[in-house]
């Protein structure tokens, strides 16, 4: 098991090293940040001064080594746009993204579990069809549209819930639902198909023959074994929710990592872009590693295959 973990850790480190090079190059390929921060009448001398001040006049290799060296100590440099240490910006934003992702995951679990189980148990009935519709809508309705509709009607017209900002539990509901609904679809389908497979298995039939109550058969015996792919899915999607909620964060004025990344990209803020991509990659790698480890623990065939 230890060998397996170490191997996966090494794979993750190699991936991060490659990513650091890629993001360093791509960030600079987006353009010159000085065009964003210097006034229109800036002279060539002003450009040279700013370039020197921001350390952008150094050779690329030197800039890259400096970036990696400092990143290893948790120093991602200073934001070109906000002129504050990037680590401070990450410390402000990452917890907001984690909390929103956790809330959204909670919403999706709360919806997907009963729907998935009910759809499997009552296969082919109206309940099954209704669950399928919820799933299809969650995946097919554009997130920005759902977000705008919720803001316009639930927050603006009905005034039931806050329209934006990260202030109190109520402010999590609309962005959390918007993000969570998208995840519901995949999760519910996985659970439904897993449940269908398990409900048709020999040990479930035996439990029924032994007179175990149907509710217990479904929610205890069958659900437990149908959960494995769902747990994997939820783990991976949690990382995705943390890092890709740009649209939801923009519509709901949520100060999270997604908008930090977006602002960084539009303003050519290299240190911010690099930091967000690296932190995102570390998060995804960590979640993947955890999921792999859990999987390996559950199913020995995986670690022996390695």
């Amino acid at each position: 098991m230890l060998r397996f973990v170490l191997f996966r850790l090494l794979q993750s480190l190699v991936a991060l090293a490659i990513l650091s090079v890629v993001v360093f190059i791509l960030a600079r390929a987006t353009g010159d940040p000085l065009h964003m921060i210097l006034p229109m009448n800036a002279s060539a001398e002003d450009y040279a001064n700013a370039r020197a001040y921001l350390g952008l006049d150094r050779p690329y290799l030197q800039q890259y080594l400096s970036f990696v060296g400092r990143a290893l100590t948790g120093d991602f440099g200073t934001s070109i746009r906000a002129r504050r240490p990037v680590i401070e910006l990450l410390q402000e934003r990452l917890p907001n993204s984690l909390k929103l992702a956790a809330f959204a995951m909670g919403v999706s679990l709360a919806i997907a579990f009963p729907l998935g189980v009910m759809a499997a148990v009552r296969r082919g009935t109206g309940v099954d069809r209704a669950a399928q519709i919820v799933a299809v809508l969650g995946q097919s309705l554009p997130t920005f549209w759902v977000a705008i509709i919720l803001v316009e009607f639930v927050a603006g017209r009905l005034q039931w819930l806050p329209a934006g900002g990260a202030d109190g539990l109520a402010s999590y509901v609309l962005p959390g639902f918007t993000l969570g609904w998208f995840v519901v679809a995949g999760m519910m389908r996985l659970l439904r198909s897993g449940m269908l497979e398990v409900l048709d298995s020999e040990y479930v039939k035996l439990a029924r023959l032994k007179g175990v109550a149907e509710r217990r058969v479904v929610w205890v015996h069958a659900l437990k074994n149908a959960l494995i792919p769902v747990v994997t899915f939820a783990g991976i999607y949690f990382a995705v929710l943390v890092t890709t909620a740009i649209v939801v964060e923009t519509v709901f004025a949520w100060p999270g990592l997604g908008r930090l990344a977006y602002d960084g990209i539009t303003s050519r803020d290299f240190p911010v872009i690099q930091a967000v991509v690296l932190v995102t990659a570390i998060l995804v790698a960590a979640v993947n590693l955890c999921v792999d480890c859990v999987y390996a623990l559950i199913d020995p065939r995986i670690r022996y295959a390695r």
């Binding site: 065009h35 006034p39 229109m40 002279s43 001064n49 316009e152 806050p162 329209a163 934006g164």
Partner: protein, 524 residues
């Protein structure tokens, strides 16, 4: 009641309890402003230009005050009066006594000198740092309440450069605090002399300030706290307004009628900006075919400005006539736009002009399409002007980019003849001169869009001239020349709407660029 129904009811009660956040319920000792953009989000005035003034103007005072209408005001700045020597090379500013920074230290001439030197320093990225470096020879502090600015050339422009009507160079900063704590600490916890003290900034979310006990200019501020919230999505800003969570929000022109119907007061900043397009110059100036005056006129005549004002700007815009001409400056210098200066929509004459220029078969023209802060209609606008040009046979190619990419093409002169545009904030005559010096003056090189020796000569004289009447005449001549040579594509002046809560009361957002004069709203 079944268990399920009880659960639903309980959930609804919990939601209802959560629905009204603390700041919506608080008494209106709070002022909350929702803006679509905070620009760079820096709270250090030396690190940004004009477009952070919305919030900086509450935390800091300027050396020279300005009325909401943009006129210099001896009552509104840290200098209670100022005068120049006979040769207009020494400007003496008399400072208000007893003004204290938020950390309790007293503001003196040393702070003014330090602030100005910092604004002109290498690290500064303010809008007019460059011209001030060129202009200022020395800064003297003969007394704690007196500062003398010595210029290399005679000039009238110093008070305006250091006023609230332009950029941030005139903001007075605490020398001792910055020298003791360093620039980085100041950028995180700024200290000024304004009516509101900095409390908190969460980049990408909000900036919070709290009132001083008593401010020399507005007395005891009406609002205990002021919060600027960054809300990029308009639907969300409007929902916040409807819920009473914000008091002021910038809104698009297309939502104005709907909000007015609902009873929200709309404060319109009239002619806040001109939408102005131009042709990128080549390394040696204009390139064919736009080096031909007839072609430039044809491209102007092909555009239906009235239709653009109606269809793209919802009727909240007026046709413009003078390239880089700003109406607030027109009043200052006595320039009148006559009916014959207005570009009529005349595609037939445009075609004839092209034929006269040997381009009856048309030509290819690249049009960059991008959006800008305060100009969300950017891409639709680019599509519209390209469409008009197609009608006279010009094969317009729309190139979608973001603004920084366009700006690079522009200043590097890598796309000669291609068209770009900007929403230029309206401003007074000195601000207008500064704009012309940036974009209409050949020696400014990088940003020049005109390249006309006659215009260059007049602009060079404005800087050296100290007779106001002669300056006015020169500025009028510059505008006349820009119009007669068709040195650009002035399209429309746009009005910018700000929606207010129904309880906000009387508010004059004024006509100073990037400044909403919210401190005047806080005056009891």
């Amino acid at each position: 009641m079944t268990k399920t129904n009880r659960t639903i009811l309980l959930s609804l009660l919990v939601l209802a309890g959560m629905a009204s956040p603390a700041w919506a319920q608080a008494a209106k000792s709070e002022l909350t402003v929702a803006l679509s953009s905070f620009s760079a989000e820096t709270v250090d005035p030396a690190l940004q230009g004009h477009n952070v003034k919305y919030y900086l103007s509450l935390m800091f005072d300027y050396l020279v005050g300005t009325t909401p209408e943009g006129q210099p005001s001896q009552a509104g700045g840290l200098a209670s009066k100022w005068e120049s020597s006979a040769d207009h090379k020494r400007w003496t500013f008399h400072l208000r006594r007893g003004v204290k920074f938020h950390d309790g230290t007293e503001m003196t001439s040393e702070d003014v000198k330090f602030s100005l030197q910092r604004a002109m320093g290498k690290r500064s990225t303010t809008g007019y740092a460059g011209p001030l470096r060129t202009l200022i020879a020395d800064i003297e502090t003969p007394a704690p309440d007196r500062v003398v600015i010595v210029t290399k050339e005679p000039t009238l422009i110093i008070p305006t450069y250091l006023s609230r009507s332009l950029s941030t160079e005139g903001i007075v900063l605490p020398k001792k605090y910055i020298e003791t704590n360093g620039d980085d600490v100041f950028a995180r916890k700024p200290v000024g002399t304004g009516p509101y003290k900095f409390v908190e900034q969460v980049v990408g979310s909000h900036i919070k300030m709290t009132a001083v006990d008593n401010h020399w200019r507005i007395g005891v501020p009406k609002y205990k706290n002021v919060t600027f919230r960054l809300v990029p999505e308009e639907t969300t800003r409007i929902a916040l307004l409807r819920r009473g969570e914000v008091d002021v929000a910038d809104v698009s022109r297309e939502r104005v009628k709907e909000l007015e119907k609902e009873g929200f007061p709309i404060h319109m900043r009239k002619e806040e900006a001109i939408i102005h397009a131009w042709w990128i110059l080549g390394p040696d100036g204009r390139t064919p075919p736009t080096n031909d005056k007839r072609v430039r006129e044809a491209l102007n005549l092909a555009i239906d400005r009235g239709e653009i004002a109606q269809s793209i700007f919802g009727g909240y815009a007026e046709p413009a006539a003078i390239p880089m001409g700003l109406t607030w400056a027109f009043k200052d210098v006595g320039f009148k736009v006559t009916p014959d200066m207005m570009y009529a929509y005349d595609p037939a004459r445009a075609k004839k002009l092209l034929a006269d220029a040997g381009l009856a078969g048309g030509f290819s023209l690249d049009v960059y399409a991008f959006q800008l802060p305060g100009f969300p209609e950017g891409k639709a606008f680019a599509e519209a002007i390209a469409g008009y040009w197609e009608k006279i046979g010009v094969k317009s190619k729309l190139i979608p980019v973001d603004y920084p990419a366009f700006r690079k093409m522009w200043v590097d002169r890598k796309a000669p003849g291609a068209v770009g545009y900007y929403n230029i904030a309206n401003r007074d005559w000195i601000g207008a001169y500064a704009l012309l010096e940036k974009q209409g003056y050949t020696p400014s090189k990088l940003n020049d869009t005109v390249n006309d020796p006659e215009v260059d000569g007049m602009l060079a004289q404005v800087m050296r001239q100290t007779d106001r009447e002669k300056i006015n005449a020169l500025m009028r001549n510059v505008y006349t020349r820009l119009r007669s040579e068709h040195h650009g594509l002035p399209i429309v002046f746009v009005h910018s709407p700000y929606a207010a809560s129904k309880t906000l009361g009387k508010w004059n957002p004024g006509s100073v660029m990037y400044d909403l004069f919210l401190d005047e709203l806080a005056r009891k």
